[in-house]
């Protein structure tokens, strides 16, 4: 088994943290191997954000993701740029709030209303999207059978200091529930 | 207390600083350009020569009288 994930979006959404927690959950929770890389530098400050995660039950040598099995795009820019890269048979996950899909390639496309869900969870303020990254992970754990919700739960507890823990766990939980109810497949 | 001016002739480079700033004109350069205490009897033991010597060549030796 080897799965290549590409997390992308804009700065402030926390997609890099999402990638990191996801990889940690695979390593510590599932006993799998994982490699995480990200794009650094000025372009990572406020602009676009990208992080690659490879998860496998064997050694991983080349650490970059050139063709993701799973592509997550939380911005139009990221979608426009990366959606052609998805492996045949792969999955593209987008949030309709951020992304208007135009690719009709061989990959499966899933739309999840992460933004809407997290805004509701945070009390209805449209600017308050804190936790959207954990919400994404909750959804991912249901959609891609690599990392279990339990492993993610533990990884969140491990990663965040006490004062942020509860909120992130709630967002994670919201993501898992969301998948059962509101995923649109194309 | 016995006191005398001791000059390390190997270290002295003859710069004349001690000669110039001696308040009692005790010191002078000899023929070879090395400082000597020419008039030790006039010395008031102020130590100005000792502390200003760039070559650490002058010592005011203070010995208890035997």
């Amino acid at each position: 088994m080897i799965q290549r994930f590409l997390f992308s979006g804009t700065g402030g959404q926390g997609v890099i943290t999402a990638a990191l927690v996801f990889a940690e959950a695979a390593v510590f929770g599932e006993g799998l191997n994982a490699v995480q890389t990200q794009v650094y530098g000025p372009e990572a400050r406020g602009g676009s954000a990208r992080s690659d995660v490879i998860i496998a039950d064997r050694e991983i040598w080349f650490p970059k993701v050139l063709q993701p099995n799973v592509l997550i795009c939380l911005s139009q820019l990221a979608y426009d740029r990366f959606s052609p890269l998805v492996r045949p048979g792969g999955v593209t996950i987008t949030d309709p709030f951020y992304v208007t899909r135009w690719q009709h390639a061989t990959s499966r496309a899933l739309e999840i209303p992460l933004h809407e869900t997290i805004v509701a969870l945070n009390g209805g303020d449209g600017l308050s999207i804190q936790g959207i990254n954990m919400c994404l992970l909750g959804a991912l754990s249901r959609l891609i059978p690599v990392v279990s919700p339990e492993s993610l739960h533990n990884a969140v507890e491990r990663r965040f200091p006490a004062r942020h823990r509860e909120r992130n766990l709630q967002a994670l939980e919201a993501g898992t529930t969301l998948v059962r109810e509101r995923v649109t497949t194309f | 207390m016995e006191r005398r001016i001791e000059v390390n002739r190997n270290w002295c480079k003859g710069c004349r600083i001690c000669v110039a700033f001696c308040p009692k004109n005790v010191l002078e350069l000899d023929r070879k350009g090395t400082v000597v205490a020419a008039r030790p009897g006039d010395c008031i033991w102020c130590g100005d020569c000792e502390i200003r010597c760039p070559d650490l060549a002058i010592t005011i030796v203070r010995e208890a009288a035997s």
Binding site: F28, L32, E59, P63 | -
Partner: protein, 392 residues
């Protein structure tokens, strides 16, 4: 030899999921490093950040200096007092450190410099991959000198190489450079930090000369080692960057000068065997031999496994010691290969050493990439197809 990897590192200790830079920091602490001075520079900064947090926990000292020059100078000072010292930087910072590198070589001060390479020349590509500092590390200071430079491609190897770097530097009283790159430095993967005691640590060889007895800080023993005395301790001596006698005082006596430069070169060049660390795969039957190091070796390993699966006899030497260059070993292992492909992310640096080392330099090819992107397994595959006359 056959590959012997495991999915996740096993054994004693604790499993972590860290960046390579963080691994450098943790390994240094494990090796007993207690003084770090550095200046922020991408892509090495996480080393300083980790150590600013980590070193005080074990009673060590971490200081952010005003520049890279001051960083390495203060490490030299601290090392002389008996602490294992380290700094970390990237190519532009290493350029600034070159004068102090020469000083550490001349004054025979043990310390470790981690250079996390980025694209150059000049400020170049701060956040992108490159392996352009190989020759800077070899020749980067004026005058003839020998230098030890180690590298690693995986975090578990990196942990061990860092400890070896400290051991070598303490053994031979010499600066040791650990040369990694933006990929290895920033990538996160599982790494096992072993329990204390699993790796042997070389401690400083201290003089047994008692107080008030003439101590010669620069009089090598027969094995080339020089017992030290803590600077500020019982023996007072002089340390200088000038050619010096066995007490450390400046000398321009031609015999003293000649002996010193030979000693500085020979203490490392004559001990290549102790300083050569490599990893080898299928070197016994390889028709196409890849030679690589650092992040490039990950792509080399990837394509080697991939090609072996379809029956191609490809092998790999991963150089963990770049300097002194293990030329004899490379010559020996490449003897039966039809082609040698050096994989590196520069315009060709180690490839020249390989060409010098092997019997048939015309069979040595360079697979490189210099656009800031990591060289991919496919890049290597294409080059191999071309030299085999198969086209891409």
């Amino acid at each position: 030899m056959t590959p012997t990897g495991t999915v996740t590192p096993t054994g004693t200790g604790t499993l972590h999921f860290l960046q390579g830079n963080e691994v450098c920091a943790e390994a240094a602490v494990y090796a007993g490093m207690r003084f770090y001075a550095g200046y922020p520079i991408t892509p090495s900064t996480e080393i300083a950040e980790r150590l600013a947090w980590r070193l005080p926990q074990v009673g060590g000292t971490c200081i952010q200096m005003e520049d890279e020059i001051g960083s390495l100078c203060s490490v030299i000072g601290a090392s002389l007092t008996g602490l294992k010292g380290m700094t970390a930087t990237s190519g532009p910072g290493y350029s600034l450190m070159q004068e102090a590198v020469g000083y550490a070589i001349m004054a025979e001060v043990p310390l470790v410099i981690v250079d996390v390479q980025r694209g150059g020349p000049s400020t170049g590509l701060p956040t992108h991959a490159s392996q352009g500092d190989v020759m800077q590390v070899r020749w980067g200071t004026h005058g003839d000198h020998a230098i030890v430079c180690l590298s690693a491609s995986t975090h578990q190897d990196l942990f061990e190489i860092m400890i070896r770097a400290f051991n070598v530097s303490e053994t031979f009283r010499t600066p040791v450079v650990v040369l990694i790159d933006e990929i290895v430095g920033h990538m996160r993967e599982p790494v096992r930090i072993p329990d204390a005691g699993e790796f042997e640590l070389t401690e400083r060889l201290l003089t047994s000369v008692p107080r008030d007895v003439d101590y010669h800080p620069y009089f090598p023993r027969e094995d080339g080692r020089l017992p030290m005395s803590h600077f500020g301790g019982e023996h007072r001596y002089n340390v200088t960057g000038l050619y010096h006698d066995m007490w450390g005082f400046p000398s321009d006596d031609p015999r003293v000068t000649n002996d010193l430069i030979h000693h500085l070169m020979n203490k490392l060049e004559n001990r290549k065997r102790d300083l050569t660390f490599t990893k080898e795969w299928y070197t016994d039957d390889a028709e196409i031999m890849l030679i690589s190091y650092g992040a490039s070796a990950r792509s080399a390993r990837h394509i080697m496994e991939d090609r072996r699966a379809v029956g191609m006899r490809m092998g790999l030497i991963e150089l963990q010691t770049l300097w002194p260059f293990p030329g004899e070993l490379v010559r020996e292992r490449c003897r039966q290969a039809n082609y040698v492909v050096v994989v590196e992310m520069n315009m060709g640096q180690i490839v020249h050493e390989v060409k010098t080392a092997v019997d048939r330099p015309e069979r040595v090819f360079l697979a490189n990439r210099v656009d800031g992107e990591m060289i991919t397994p496919v890049d290597i595959k294409h080059l191999v197809r071309v030299i085999q006359g198969k086209g891409i």
